[in-house]
Structure formats: C-alpha cells, structure tokens
C-alpha cells in the first residue's frame, strides 16, 4: 500500500500535523502581510469611489486581465505570460487539492463532479509543461533575447525559478507516486493494467516520466515522491508569502487594479474642491501616503515590465523621468516607511514612528527629483502601454499641484505663462483685445457670438490661443473658417470673450488658475446657449469635452478634422484640388491617446486628391509626442536631447514630402525642429491641406 507524504511520520512527528503547522504558519504570515498592505493602502489620501459601473469594471478586468489584451502587443512576452498565467489559473485547483490531501489524507476533493478530476488531470499535465515552457521563455527574454525595457532583476529570476521549481516538484511527486503505486501494486495484472492505462490516458506526461523512474527501488521512489511533495508545498507557501514583498505582487493585485481602473475619459484630470483643500491646508501631494488608495494600488501592482518607457519621450531623450522608474520610486517611498506610516495611522507606539516619519527621506527632492516631476509631457504613452492599468499622469500632476499651489516652486519660465493666462487669457501674455484679429483678412465676415445675437449659430468655433495669436495657427484658423463657410455651416467665435481653456495651467499643477479660467469660459458659453463646439486645438478639445463638464459645461465638442471629415462625407464640401505628394501623419497625443481620435484626420487626408499617406513607424496609439504637452510648451528643455528633434528625426526618416499635423503646438514644435536640424519635411495642418483642396470660386 502506498502512503501519502502526510501519512508518514518524520522523526516521530506525524506528517499531517507537520503539514497543518506549515499551512497555519503560511496562512498566518500571509494574513499578517496582507493586512499590513491593506492598512498601507487605505491610510491617508482622499476618498475615491471605484465601485461605480461594476459591469464595465468587470469587463475591463476580463478584457485586460483574463484575456490579457495588452500583453500580446509584444507577441513573445504575450505568449510566455499567457502560458504562465493560464498555468496559474489551472493549478489553483491543483493546489487546493494538495491542501485538502494534506489535511485529510486519502480523501479527494469532495465537491467535484464525477469524472471531472480525470479530465482536470489531463489539463494539469499539459499545463505543467506549458507553464514550465513559459518560465524558460521568460528567462530567455531576460537573459538571451533581451529587451531594453527590462532591467536585470534578481527578483524576477528568483520568482521564475520558483515557478519552475513548482512545476518540476509537482511533476516529480506525481511521477514518483505513480511509479511507486505501480511497484507496490498487488500481483493482480488486470487491475494494475487498468490503473496504468488510466494513468497513461489522463496523466500522459507524469506517466511517461514514471516509466523512466520504474527502475528505481521503492524506497528511492518514496524519497523522491515525499521530497518533491514537501518541496512543492513549501515552495507554494514561500511563493505566496513572497509575492507581496516584490514586484510580483501583481499576481495578486493586477486583476483588482484593472477592476478599479479609471473609467472616466483618459484625458480628464481629477477636479478637487479648492475650498475644502484650503480648509485641510494641503494642496496636491507631497507625502506618499497622501495618494489615494487606488494610486497606491497602482504602486503595489507595477511589475517593472518597462512597457511604459519604450516610447516615453522623456526616456527616449535622456531625461531623468521614466514612468517605470517613477512608479518604482513611489513604491520605494511607500514601502520604506510602511511600518511607521501604519503605526502612526493606528495611533500606536511611543512616538518613535512619528519621529521616523519626520526624519524620513522626503518624497519630492528625496525619492523623486523636481526635474523628474517637470519633465513629463503627459503624452500618455505609458498609460496606454501599461498592461495592468496603472496611471501615471495623475501622480505627476498631483506632485506638481503641491509644488505650485502650496510651495510656489516651479520652473520660473512657467510664471510668464501663468501671468499671461491670468491677465490676458493667453500664455504669451499678448493683448486680449487682439484675440479675434486673425479673422480680419478673410473674404467673409466671421461674427462673434455677441455680434450674431439672435441669429442661428450651428456651432461655436473655439479658436484657442495658438489659433488666435500664433502666425501659423492663425492661418489654420482661417482654413477652418473657410471650410465651414464653404460647407454653409453657420458658426461664430467668442472673440475677445474667449480665453485660454487652462489646459496647460492644469497640467502644470496650477489648478486654481485652471478652475478660474474654466468657470469663466463655461459661464460665457452658457450665456450664449452654446451646445456644439468645434476646435482645432486638441488641448482645448480635451479640456472642453472632458474637463468642463465638472464645471457645468456640457457641450458636444468636435475636433476640426472630425467635423470637416463629416462635411466631406456628407458631400457638403468637395475637395478637388491637389498635387501628388507623400505625407506622414503625426498623431497629437491629446487627440489620439487621450481621446481615441485617430481616424478622422486620416479620413480627411485620404479625401484630399493627390495625398499618399505613409504611416510613421510610431503612429496612432504608439505615436510619439512632439514635446509640447503637459505645459512643456511653456518650459525650457535643458536636459538631454530635445523631444521635438527626436520626433522630427523619425519623421524625416519616413522620407515623405511633408508631415500632416492636427495640433497647433505640434506644428510649432516640429516647425522649430525643422529649423533647428535644417531638415526638409515641412509640417502642414490637415485643415490647411483640406482648405487648399477646395474648388476655386471665380471672383
């Protein structure tokens, strides 16, 4: 008769008891760790409701968690990760069965339907192999077919080896047991054959290994069986308890992190109540515990896979910020002082925890350099890339909010832009009275809402600062006006009543200035009963569409390319003129990744005669930033290479006659890069190209 490992005694100590003690220790330790992590997660920070729209949340978890949608963008990594992930899902039951067997030797899992277990064993056998293959492939990615995004990690190697060990010990224990059962079987050949045939059928891998082991003596087989079994059990307990301490915490937190992920529009920053914040006396985040629980869950979840930094413009140009490094540093700040934070929060201890917190390494300037905080262009590539739903921009801007609102410490050139927005409603501080001047040279009058009076206005043309003041931007504004006029769309502008939307102020952390501008603009537009808005600035577009609703401004907002593409589709505009030219298209971050508008500019370009669109290697979701977003347009870029030049070099390499853009700031940045690098690819706004293709009307 074959006995199971827990049925044996070890130095007189019953195996079941030993197992029970091990299990208890593992559970106690895990519970302790988990409760500490939960305490850490929930202490401090503003409350945040992430339970709304549960179905949408479940769907996100299914799509990005169970179906691993983002993982396959890197097919190799997607494959091995899927192998390991599916292995975990399958072997969860196996582990449960092992625990049951350990506690109740000889009994099977009680709740399984008849015949299920055999089928499960077959899957399990397969999965042991595939998971092991996944581990090998993963190790190969780390050491042979490397990627820049992955940094050497002992932790990763350790965990992978541990997973490999789990597979090997599971297989080893099973095979040795099978061989032992065969050896110990009674001389009843028929019964033995039936068992063997069953083994061969349901656990073919284990069976074939057991055949190879059958030459060994019974005692050797029993040693292997017991050794592997206990090793497997210990490995599981160690594995489970090690997870919360390292980057592999994602095994536990990734699915919840996806469930609790951001459902609001990607480009919307959180609005906070300034009066309330003033009562509390703090603005933004200066201490790691002040991040919300979800933001801390992000820190727990980062797996350091580095997908976030592959197209990160700051990383590519040699600046100190990488999203991965940022997240790891935040986590470092959180974990390093975890004990003191928990003790202080619980009101425990003798004051030493308070003292420790006072003396701790500061978050800003200690863990995260100010240069890092100001480097981000908020292009959102990192958030698009992250497979586990981590957001970065919110954390960067929370830190900026603290620096600006509480400390008034920021790159001094931002002050010029802040003053300009505050005083003249534009970051250049050009006279507010000149805001509508761009429209003067048009062959038809462009009315302001005030001038339009009771006349029906279909759509408000929100011109934006660049479209109002910057030479090239003004040309593009005239192009859009021309296109709307051609289509017979009645539109009006706000003229001197329009001010900056505050996008850059908000992203530079100046929430107060942003809210002042937002309230003012919403009030102006509501005063005119505005319902539809078209704008050619993606930053205005994002702010108007996604952020103004928080201030009572709910409008239907269209980007210029969206509206004009529709007018072309509806036959209200015909684009007839054009010479053959090849064109790259540079996706603006705030139109693309922040708002998912990729097709409208392309649809419009394809409708222009002669244009042959040649996509850039990094385009659409993977488009690289021009360097202007996140308020960077208004700051000096002193560290590393210039983002606009890096992007322009990619565009030049695409070898097209010109590059299409759909954002006035991309236009400025790429235009500057062309001058700086003496390049040849000139930038045109898609609307300029469309306006040039309009039929020429005599007179």
């Amino acid at each position: 008769m074959t006995i199971t490992p827990v049925q044996a005694a070890y130095l007189g100590f019953p195996g079941t008891l030993l197992f029970a003690l091990l299990l208890l220790a593992a559970l106690v330790f895990f519970t302790y760790t988990a409760s500490r992590r939960i305490q850490l997660l929930t202490l401090g920070g503003a409350p945040e409701n992430r339970l709304d729209h549960p179905l949408a949340r479940l769907w996100n978890m299914l799509e990005y968690g169970f179906l691993q949608r983002k993982m396959f963008r890197d097919p190799y990594a997607g494959l091995y990760h899927a192998l390991i992930f599916s292995g975990f899902l399958v072997l969860l039951l196996r582990t449960l069965a092992l625990v049951f067997e350990g506690l109740f030797p000889g009994a099977g899992l009680p709740f399984l339907p008849a015949g299920f277990w055999e089928g499960y064993l077959l899957v399990k056998d397969l999965v042991l192999l595939t998971t092991f293959a996944g581990v090998v492939l993963a190790l190969a990615r780390r050491h042979v077919v490397k990627r820049e995004r992955l940094d050497p990690s002992f932790d990763a190697d350790l965990i992978l080896c541990l997973i490999g060990l789990l597979m090997v010990t599971d297989l080893g224990a099973g095979a040795a047991r099978m061989a032992l059962e065969a050896a110990n079987a009674p001389a009843n050949a028929a019964a033995l054959n039936a068992v063997l045939a069953g083994n061969a059928l349901w656990e073919p891998l284990t069976y074939s290994l057991s055949k190879n082991l059958s030459l060994l003596s019974s005692s050797s087989l029993q040693s292997i069986y017991f050794g592997c079994w206990w090793a497997h059990i210990v490995a599981i307990f160690v594995f489970g308890n090690y997870l919360p301490f390292a980057k592999h915490f994602h095994v536990i937190t990734a699915l919840p992190n996806l469930f609790f992920g951001k459902l609001e529009p990607a480009g919307k920053m959180a609005t906070f109540d300034i009066e309330k914040a003033a009562e509390a006396g703090t603005f933004g985040v200066s201490k790691v515990e002040d991040f919300t629980w979800k933001q801390k869950l992000d820190m727990f979840t980062c797996t350091e896979c580095g997908r976030c930094r592959e197209v990160c413009p700051t990383h590519l140009t040699g600046k100190p910020l990488t999203p991965k490094g940022f997240m790891v540093d935040l986590r470092g700040a959180l974990y390093t002082d975890a004990d003191a934070l928990i003790d202080v929060n619980a009101g425990r201890g003798d004051g030493s925890a308070e003292a420790a917190l006072l003396a701790r390494r500061p978050l800003i300037g200690g863990w995260i350099d100010e240069e890092t905080i100001w480097a981000c262009t908020t292009c959102r590539y990192c958030e698009h890339a992250c497979p586990v739903g981590i957001t970065y921009i919110d954390k960067i801007t929370d830190l900026r909010r603290h620096l600006v609102l509480e400390k008034s410490e920021f790159p001094k050139e931002a002050q010029t832009a802040f003053n300009g927005m505050e005083r003249q409603g534009n970051p250049w501080n050009l006279s507010a009275a000149d805001r509508g001047a761009w429209a003067k040279d048009l062959p038809f009058p462009v009315l302001t809402m005030a001038e339009a009076g009771d006349a029906r206005v279909e759509v408000l043309f929100w011109v934006g600062c660049a479209g109002s003041y910057e030479e090239r931007g003004k040309r593009v504004s005239r192009a859009l006006a021309l296109l709307l006029h051609e289509a017979g769309v009645t539109f009006a502008i706000l003229g001197t009543e329009e001010t900056c939307t505050g996008d850059a102020a908000r992203r530079l952390g100046n929430e107060y200035l942003f809210q002042t501008l937002a309230q003012q603009n919403v009030e102006t537009m509501k005063g005119y009963g505005v319902t539809k808005i078209v704008t050619n600035c993606p930053h205005c577009f994002n702010t108007l569409a996604n952020e103004y609703p928080d201030f009572g401004g709910k409008f239907e907002v269209m980007h210029g390319t969206q509206l004009v593409a529709r007018l072309v589709r509806e036959g209200r505009i015909s684009l007839v003129n054009g010479a053959p030219r090849s064109l790259s298209f540079h996706d603006p971050c705030y139109l693309g990744r922040h708002n998912g508008v990729y097709d409208a500019p392309r649809e419009l370009l394809n409708a222009i005669p002669g244009i042959a669109l040649k996509e850039l290697p990094r385009s659409r979701e993977n488009g690289m930033c021009c360097g202007a977003g996140g308020g960077r347009m208004w700051l000096e870029e002193k560290i590393g290479a210039r983002v606009n030049q890096a992007r322009f070099a990619e565009i030049e390499a695409n070898g097209t006659d010109a590059v299409g853009v759909s954002c006035p700031f991309c236009m400025v940045m790429l235009g500057n890069a062309k001058t700086e690098l003496s390049g040849k690819t000139e930038a045109f706004d898609v609307l300029e190209l469309a306006a040039q293709a309009l039929p020429v009307h005599p007179g």
Partner: protein, 326 residues
C-alpha cells in the same frame, strides 16, 4: 514776467548734455514770459562751468560748491535748488528727467507743496502756464498736462534727448551767485560711482537691445552684433533658436521662456520672430528688423525694417553710429 530756473547736472566736472537741453528749453520759455533765466549747479570745484551756462543764456548762475557735494545726494542737491529758488524767485523750475533730475525735482516740489510735470515730451508756456505732453500707461497713451492756475511755482522735468541743446544768440550775463547752504542735512549719499561695466549689459535691464537669431549662422558672428552693442550702449540678446543651438548662454535669451523685455529700442538681426520670441519683446517701444526673408513674422511687429543681409547692414550701422557720435 516770470523767471525760469534750471537745475544743472554735472558729472566729473562736465555739464550733462541733457541739462543743456533743459537750459535751452528754459531760455526759450523765459523769452516767452519775458523773464530771466537762472541756472543752479551743485558740486565741488565746479566754478569753471559757469561760462558754458552763460553761453546758453543764463543770466544768473547759482553755485553750491562744497566738498560734501562732490558726489550726488538728493538732500544736498535739493537744498541747493531750494536755496537758489528762494534767491531767484522763479515761477518755472526745470530739471532734465534723468535719474538725478527725477530725484531732485520731486523733492523740491513736495517741499514747495506743488506737483511735477514729469517726463515731458513737449513743453510750452501759454499765458504764463506750462503745458505739454507726457506718456502714460507705459507709453500707450499721451496726456496733455498743465499746472493749476494758482500754482506759485511750476516744476517740470523735460525728457532727455527730446529737446535740442543750442547756445543762445546772445549769451547771458552769467552772474555768479554763491549759495550759502548752511549746515547740510545729508543722510543718503553716493559713496562711489562705477562706470557701467565695460563688459556686457544685462539684457533684462537694458534700455537698448541688439538681438541675434538663427540668421546669424553661428557663434562666430556675435562679434558683428557686439560691435553694434558697444556703439549703441545696448545689451546683446538672442532668440531661443540661437540659444538652443548652443551659440550663446541662456542668460541672453529673449522670449517666452527667456527674459521678457521692453526696451525703448530692440534691433532684431536674423530673428524670424516666432511667437515665443515676440512674447518676450513685443512691447518694446521701437523694433528694428533686419532679415533676409521679407516674409519673416518679425516684420509684422517692426517699426523699421531692412530686408537684406545682416552681415553687410549691421557693420554699416556700427560705422554710422560711430559717425553720429563724432
């Protein structure tokens, strides 16, 4: 009949040209009011300057010549003006709107309980009352100002370099009156005068700026611009493009993310005039654009423009400025 008294500023034993302008103006005003022209001068060892003042028409020259007045002090120099006014009984007092004139005239006016017609671009006298124009709202408007009819004394500071300086057809008597100022109460005083550093003027503080952009082609061209700076007493500026190219330090950068300046003269050489540059210098009083490209946006904001090769024009300007000085 009303007398005109002009405060004369000397430095290193030389009368400032701006004071001669004020004196010339005072002479013409005194002729209109049929009054006589007085001048007051303070310093140490300055008696030799009287003759020049007479040549500009001063009939009386009040001299406060004391060692403790060798260097400027607003209290000491105001005391001299005050004593001269007491002795001369002018109804009009002029001082050029220089740093010194703007210090002394308001102190004197406040002492006499009147205000100042300050920084005058034009100045005339009608029915015995001064009238003239001065800029307000940082030059965006001009106002015609005049003192109250009952003003016992009218104080004005004409702007330098606006009024001509010319000797009188008939020299004044130049009668020297030595002022006895008694014990002077001087608390704030100049202890040292440092000539403007031979080196470079800080672009943020400069009243004139010569600025270079990408059109200067490379850092080897700065001497061309610097020579002009030297002649004009201007600071050297640069566009962001030139700074980013590494041709010059960021401290020279004018624009949105550099220094925001509003000098009275801004000469942009090979600067295209991108908006980030215009945001930093658009409020300059006079803008000169020198650029090869007639389409460059800088011409849209410029007062004067030359479409041409800066490497020919800038050296020619340096030469012309030298000639003008001579």
């Amino acid at each position: 009949m009303s007398n005109v008294l002009v405060f004369i500023e000397q430095r290193d034993g030389k009368i400032r040209k701006s004071s001669l302008e004020a004196l010339t103006l005072g002479h013409s005003l005194s002729k209109k009011t049929n009054g006589s022209l007085g001048a007051v001068i303070a310093g140490s060892g300055i008696s030799s300057l009287v003759g020049e003042l007479a040549a500009y028409g001063a009939s009386k020259v009040f001299v406060a010549d004391r060692p403790e007045l060798a260097l400027f002090s607003s209290e000491g120099y105001t005391a001299a003006l005050d004593a001269a006014a007491a002795a001369f009984g002018p109804s009009i007092v002029l001082a050029s709107a220089t740093a010194m004139g703007r210090d002394v005239a308001p102190r004197f006016a406040a002492r006499r309980g009147v205000s100042v017609l300050s920084d005058m671009m034009t100045l005339d006298v009608q029915n015995g009352r001064l009238v003239g124009e001065r800029p307000v709202y940082s030059g965006k408007a001009r106002v015609v100002v005049t003192p109250a009819p009952d003003a016992a004394i009218q104080v004005a500071t004409p702007r330098p370099n606006v009024f001509p300086a010319s000797k009188a057809d008939v020299a004044g008597a130049g009668e020297v009156v030595t002022l006895d100022l008694g014990t002077l109460k001087i608390r704030a005083k100049v202890v040292k005068v440092e000539a403007a550093e031979a080196g470079e003027i800080d672009v943020a503080e400069a009243d004139k700026i010569v600025s270079g952009g990408r059109g200067i082609k490379g850092p080897e061209s700065w001497p061309v611009l610097r020579a002009l700076c030297q002649e004009l007493g201007a600071a050297l500026g640069a566009s962001r493009a030139a700074v980013d190219a590494g041709w010059i330090g960021h401290e020279h950068q004018v624009g949105q993310t550099g220094k925001v300046v509003s000098p009275s003269l801004y000469i942009a050489c090979g600067v295209s005039g991108a908006i980030q540059h215009l945001a930093g210098m658009g409020s300059s009083k006079v803008i000169v654009a020198i650029n090869k490209d007639p389409e460059a946006p800088i011409f849209k904001v410029a007062t004067y423009g030359i479409v041409g090769d800066l490497f020919q024009i800038v050296p020619a300007m340096t030469e012309a400025a030298k000639k003008m000085k001579a």
